[in-house]
């Protein structure tokens, strides 16, 4: 058994710093590179891409990235784990194999985790007695069944462990929890038992710290943000994991950013509910048991984590089409910028009303005044306001209403208050609103499938 392993976070979301995975495998020693690409909205986008072309539906950055890092990973023996397979992990594996061939790589084993996509099984699942009731409202999924765009189960670490046991050097999954990506190599390397919930929870906590990339190493840090050095070359976090469940969070030497008690604490509270019950498919981790010891020099020890057995359910996320929305904006300048923007909003609303358009919601925000903090914003001395951006957003089940809204923004320039500019982007186009349906499904109704592709 290895004495320790180093797991590097390479992406915190699809759209994160493209160079980060390359930095992680070149700027210092690591054993694993883990990359989280999937947010809820990503699944529906990928599903739409796959509907148009059956060879798509995965994070298309991956083949390009592999061209750059695969030779390095092969040479150094770094394994790559990612959920960027989206709704088509097999096609993602095929694309990587093509890249490997073009690079002249002779041997490569890619593990693929399938079975999370239940979009085509919904009728069967409902007839088995599970109505995938909405976790927030309790309604049956039948109410939105015909509008569903994607439906995926969140798997945990164990299917990835199975792929690693089969010899995979790269593991591509569909919907897998962000935490599972980091936990899996620890289970595999240290032979942790499924029932050793304290260890499983320790790995899960490490996964939570790594899952948003540099957000735990100085990025988006609301403490003393000006003290964070060299954010241009920010070091993404690395979990140095030990068989006893202790983990040291660090980053490569000679990179920017900061790993400290405060930066880790901020990430620990990110997007959590009750800290005593952090539920994943693998365990229920107790975030109030986590102990942090700032060792200095960008090293923070995470230890003492306690956990309980996992539940009998997987979480399911369905996305469904729920109408249309559009956002329009115009910029008003000094003098009286805010008054002008407010007047323009009134005129716009009156015109929309006169047209008898149907909206579920019309929302106005004044960027420069109250768009981010609403009623908490302080009143401004209007003579000191240089400019205000009027931002109006609408949502409706009726496509025509949203489209027509888009045609009512530009006219304000010649038919409304003066001192206005900023309409270079053209008419706002309606975009489809994708809503989410969170539900639970008994684990026995879904089986992960692990396949190995070899070159």
């Amino acid at each position: 058994m290895k004495e320790k392993i180093r797991i590097a976070s390479g992406q915190g979301f699809w759209g994160d710093l493209i160079e980060a995975p390359y930095w992680q495998v070149t700027k210092g020693p690591v054993d694993y590179l883990v990359m989280d690409y999937l947010a809820e909205v990503t699944m529906s986008i990928l599903q739409k891409q796959k509907n148009k072309n059956p060879d798509l539906g995965y994070a298309r950055d991956i083949p390009e990235l592999m061209k750059k890092i695969l030779p390095i990973c092969k040479e150094k023996g770094i394994k790559v784990i990612t959920n960027g397979g989206g709704v088509n992990p097999t096609a993602c594996a095929d694309a990587i194999i093509k890249v490997a061939e073009s690079l002249g790589i002779k041997n490569l084993k890619i593990g693929v985790v399938l079975g999370d996509d239940i979009k085509d099984r919904i009728d069967e699942i409902i007839s088995s007695g599970c109505e995938l009731n909405n976790m927030d409202t309790g309604e049956s999924v039948k109410t939105v069944k015909d509008k569903i765009l994607s439906a995926n189960v969140y798997f945990g670490a164990f299917p990835i462990v199975e792929a690693l046991e089969k010899g995979a050097e790269i593991v591509i999954t569909g919907r897998t929890t962000d935490t599972g990506l980091t936990l899996a190599p620890m289970i595999y390397e240290f032979d942790w038992g499924k029932e050793n919930y304290d260890l499983i929870s320790a790995g899960t906590v490490a996964g939570h710290i790594l899952e948003c990339g540099a957000q735990s190493s100085g990025g988006n840090f609301l403490g003393d943000w000006q003290s964070i050095e060299n954010m241009a070359e920010i070091g993404f976090p690395i979990a140095e994991a030990y068989p006893n469940g202790e983990v040291i969070i660090t980053k490569h030497d000679n990179t920017g950013g900061l790993v400290s008690f405060a930066t880790i604490a901020e990430q620990l509270v990110y997007e959590i509910g009750d800290p005593k019950t952090y539920i994943t498919p693998d365990c229920i981790a107790d975030f109030t048991s986590i102990k942090l010891d700032d060792l200095g020099n960008n090293r923070v020890k995470v230890f003492g984590v306690k956990g309980k057995p996992e539940t009998e359910f997987y979480k399911v996320s369905c996305s469904y089409s729920d109408g249309y929305s559009a956002v329009g904006s115009l910029t008003y300048s000094w003098p009286q910028a805010l008054s002008k923007a407010k007047a323009a909003d009134k005129i716009l609303r009156k015109r929309l009303e006169n047209l008898n358009l149907k909206f579920d919601e019309i929302r106005t925000e004044f960027i420069g005044y109250n768009a981010t903090q609403g009623p908490l914003s302080t009143e401004l001395d209007e003579d000191k306001i240089n400019e205000i951006m009027l931002r109006v957003a609408v949502r409706s089940k009726d496509y025509y209403s949203v489209e027509r809204f888009g045609k009512e923004i530009a006219p304000l320039i010649l038919t409304g208050p003066p001192g206005v500019t900023g309409f270079a982007g053209g008419r706002p186009k309606p975009s489809e609103v994708v809503a989410y349906w969170p539900a639970l499904i008994p684990k026995k109704l879904v089986q992960p499938v692990v396949k190995l592709y070899e070159l």
Binding site: L222, G273, I290
Partner: protein, 103 residues
Amino acid sequence: MKIKLKEIAHARSGDKGDAGNVGVIAYDDKGFEIIKKYLTTEKVKKHFEGICFGKVERYEMPNIRAINFLLHNTLGGGGTVSLKHDAQGKILASAMLRMELDI
């Protein structure tokens, strides 16, 4: 005596469906004693009047000197449905730190 929450704590926020979460972390033990005593559910609910339209849940995490708040019915329908500029509640943390505590 009035103190600004910003002087004794930092924070991070994010989205959980239509709820926003705000974790407030005190810089030291003394600060944690203050937020434990004065940063109550009622105080937070009142602070976010006109922003949070649901209940507020409060969870203490003494291990990292933090209190996590869940603000229900806050994000205008949640991530992709919301028309808010800050649809994912990223700014709720900064908004929280504006608070003044009467101690």
